[in-house]
């Protein structure tokens, strides 16, 4: 009995069907992420409405209704009887732009500030890109040579009676220049101090430890604004008669001590993350304390805390705005002063100025935080447990 097989054996692969329309492409993505359930749909609609109600007026104000050119407030003020709306007064920012960047630095000397900006960017960018070689040379240039050159370029240089670069007093500095000077000096000066106090806090010597703990907790416990008031009002009383400090220097001292405490805690985090074996290994090699720290522990610990340092820097960068309260003209202070210029007084001038300041700060801080995340990811690949 011949039996014909009822089985059908497929000899070739069935044609591949595309995935259902509802799971792929834009529609699928939308079904999955936006409209997966009734509640989710409501959320999506709510979110879209919310986004629209935030971004639409913002774009309307900052771009569509904005005034881009003009010589004085007339450009940004609605004429009497007119019903048109006037948005951001960018003409004002354009007119004041040099002041926002350089403060009242003398016009003929501004090239010096530009050189400093360019040098800083030129040294920082290769430093920040991990694949660029000559890191050691770069670090020496950035951390030792650059501050010295920048100092003389910004303040001026007089040897004997020869004026090589005319002196520019710090009250003439302002805007982004002051913001950057305070933030960058604050962070570079607070790093070594912070390392010292971090080591002190982990020290076995009770008094050293106590002093470090008190220092760190004191500065972390008080608001920066009181520190700034202290440096501007109280510090002069501490000095012997006749000795005075430049205002900017006083602010720098306050800011440095303040951020050193935060830096110390960041570095301490790094020190704690180094396994005990590293310490024991170094000691077994016969290294004393400083060589052990300098050659074995700190290089590892500091590498670990680069994201933390960048985050401290972001915080410090934002906090520089506080110097406005003690009467220095940082970026925000400069913008706030210029918005009260009667030539430009209009209902939107203030908001425009703040918007501009917010944009500048956002670009700097967001950029740095992205960089910190990038470094964090890069560092994590090697020793992720």
């Amino acid at each position: 009995m011949s039996q014909t097989s009822t089985f059908q054996i497929r000899t070739e692969e069935a044609p591949r069907l595309p995935a259902p329309v509802s799971t792929t492409g834009l529609i699928g993505w939308m079904r999955q992420n936006l409209f997966s359930s009734a509640g989710n749909t409501i959320l999506t609609i709510f979110g879209i409405l919310l986004a629209y109600s935030i971004f639409a007026p913002l774009i309307q104000f900052a771009l569509i209704d904005a005034v881009w050119s003009g010589d004085n407030r007339d450009a940004c003020v609605v004429p009497d009887g007119s019903t048109e709306t006037v948005g951001a007064c960018w003409a004002f920012v354009k007119a004041y732009f040099p002041q926002f960047i350089y403060g009242r630095y003398p016009t003929e000397e501004i090239y010096r500030v530009n050189i400093v900006y360019a040098m800083f960017a030129g040294l920082l960018i290769p430093m920040a890109i991990p694949s660029v070689p000559f890191k050691k040379l770069n670090a020496v240039l950035l951390l030792i040579v650059f501050p010295i050159i920048a100092y003389y370029l910004l303040t001026g240089l007089v040897i004997g009676s020869d004026v090589i670069l005319p002196i520019v007093e710090t009250p003439f500095w302002g805007g982004l220049l002051v913001t950057l000077v305070i933030a960058v000096t604050g962070i570079t000066a607070s790093l070594p101090l912070g390392i010292l106090f971090a080591l002190g806090r982990r020290s076995d010597m009770p008094i050293v430890k106590l002093v470090s703990v008190i220092f760190i907790e004191f500065w972390r416990g008080v608001p920066l604004i009181t520190v700034l008031f202290m440096s501007s009002v109280m510090l002069p009383l501490f000095l012997p008669e006749g000795v005075t400090f430049d205002r900017l220097l006083r602010v720098l001292i306050g800011v440095t001590l303040f951020s050193a405490a935060y830096m110390a805690e960041v570095v301490r985090g790094g020190l704690q993350a180094i396994p005990k074996g590293q310490y024991e290994g170094a000691m077994a090699l016969g290294l004393r304390f400083w060589p052990m720290m300098g050659l074995i522990i700190l290089p590892q610990a500091l590498k670990l805390v680069i994201p933390g340092i960048v985050n401290t820097f972001i915080g410090l960068f934002k906090d520089t705005t506080l110097v406005m309260i003690v009467g220095m003209f940082d970026l925000l202070g400069q913008i706030q002063t210029s918005t009260s210029d009667p030539n430009w007084a209009s209902p939107t001038t203030g908001v425009t100025g703040y918007l501009f300041a917010a944009m500048i700060f956002f670009c700097f801080c967001f950029g740095m935080s992205r960089y910190s995340i990038f470094i964090e990811k890069k560092l994590h690949t090697g020793h992720k447990r």
């Binding site: 992420n33 936006l34 997966s36 989710n40 959320l43 999506t44 979110g47 879209i48 919310l50 986004a51 076995d204 010597m205 009770p206 008094i207 050293v208 002093v211 004191f218 972390r220 416990g221 008080v222 608001p223 920066l224 604004i225 009181t226 008031f229 202290m230 009002v233 109280m234 009383l237 501490f238 000095l239 012997p240 008669e241 972001i314 934002k318 906090d319 705005t321 506080l322 406005m324 309260i325 925000l332 706030q336 209902p347 203030g350 908001v351 703040y354 300041a357 917010a358 700060f361 956002f362 801080c365 967001f366 935080s369």
Partner: protein
């Protein structure tokens, strides 16, 4: 034997003091103490000399003197004839007020944004992301002045106030609301409220014990809510509603009466809570992500729905990760409230500054600031440490 003796003895003899770690430690510490004492001595003598030479009075005696200036927001009795010390106390209470309200609002907002950031809904999570990045990358001071001047410019003047329910007014002098005024009979309602709170706590403890013992649940939350709302209400009904409302009325230039929130306070609290909430959102997100996904799956496997999973399994574990950084955010908020000085909110720093200006007692005023903020920091961190210990994983 002899050779061995010398071998042991020799290194001891050779260990000079310079190489003895203990001696070195003592030396360094003595040196440190000496440097500190010397620095302190120099500062103190300089200051004393400066003060004496210029005939500046020192000491805290000025706190008793009459202040003579007015304050726009006082929680305790204060008039121009009160003392400087009382003015500073008013400032301290205002700082605490802003800090407490700010912490509550920032936590609420931060938790919502943090959860939204993890939402499966793309629109919601991206919105939350934009919020966090936009807010935390812009300096707080800028946000404070921005909100303040936005409030002053966008809101109408007192005579053209925005109005709601005929009794709530918003204008550039602030937000005015009716203020309930309780008669003396309201004591009963207050007593009822206290009883309700105590009863709720007792029920909660009893309910959790019973659940531990028998597994039966009791709706303690609902009961508590009912008690806390109904009991005082009953108290009010029994005494015939001894509550009147003080309505704000436009009189002359401004509204008079009612409860008022000054624009400085609105702007400061708005800016502080929004700014801090963006950091709290990130902390909450990181905390929830730190709880392993297995926990969720296990909870689902046990038959828990999404809500109870989050409430009973995920959040309690996430809290352990969240609390320490949250503490420092609360401390930051408290310290950041000192930026009130930029918009004339009468907090500790701003009123202290006024006193400093009027009296010239820089050292005294600044030392009061530092002391107060340090104490606030220590109290907050002590409380949060206690809470953290309570929440901590009890390991066996």
């Amino acid at each position: 034997m002899t050779t061995r003796d010398t071998e042991v003895a020799q290194p001891e003899a050779r260990t000079s003091l310079i190489n003895d770690p203990q001696a070195r430690a003592i030396f360094f510490q003595v040196l440190l103490v000496a440097v500190l004492v010397f620095a302190g001595y120099v500062i103190v003598t300089n200051t004393v000399a400066n003060l004496q030479r210029q005939n500046i009075a020192s000491g805290y005696g000025f706190l008793e003197n009459i202040a003579g200036f007015g304050i726009s927001l006082t929680l305790i009795d204060y008039s121009e004839t009160s003392s400087y010390g009382r003015a500073i106390l008013v400032g301290l209470l205002n700082t605490v007020l802003v800090a407490v309200v700010g912490v509550v609002l920032a936590s609420t907002l931060g938790f919502i944004i943090g959860v939204a950031r993890l939402s499966k809904n793309w629109v919601i999570s991206k919105l939350a992301y934009c919020y966090v990045e936009a807010i935390r990358n812009v300096p707080l001071l800028l946000q404070i002045v921005f909100w303040y001047f936005l409030l002053l410019n966008a809101v109408p003047s007192a005579r053209n106030s925005m109005e709601a329910f005929g009794s709530v007014f918003l204008n550039n002098r602030g937000l005015f609301m009716p203020k309930p005024v309780f008669g003396p009979e309201a004591v009963l309602a207050l007593g009822a409220l206290i009883v309700a709170v105590v009863a709720s706590i007792v029920i909660k403890i009893w309910a959790s014990r019973r659940q531990m013992a028998t597994g039966q649940q009791f709706p303690s939350g609902l009961t508590a809510l009912g008690l806390i709302v109904l009991l005082p209400l009953a108290g009010l009904v029994v005494t015939g509603f001894p509550v009147t409302f003080d309505y704000p009325v436009l009189k002359g230039f401004n509204f008079v009466g009612g409860q008022r929130l000054i624009p400085e306070m609105i702007a400061l609290i708005t800016a502080l809570s929004i700014y801090t909430s963006s950091f709290i959102a990130e902390i909450v997100r990181a905390g929830i992500q730190a709880v392993s996904h297995g926990q969720t799956e296990a909870a689902h496997a046990l038959g828990l729905r999404h809500g109870p999973t989050l409430r009973l399994v995920i959040i309690p574990q996430a809290m352990r990760v969240i609390i320490p950084p949250l503490t420092s955010q609360y401390l930051n908020l408290t310290k950041n409230s000192s930026l009130a000085v930029a918009i004339a909110f009468p907090d500790l720093v701003s009123l202290g500054g006024t006193v400093l200006n009027q009296t010239g007692q820089a050292i005294e005023v600044i030392s009061i600031w530092m002391l107060v903020y340090l104490s606030l920091s220590l109290i907050t961190s002590a409380f949060m440490n206690w809470y953290n210990q309570k929440m901590a994983l009890v390991e066996r």
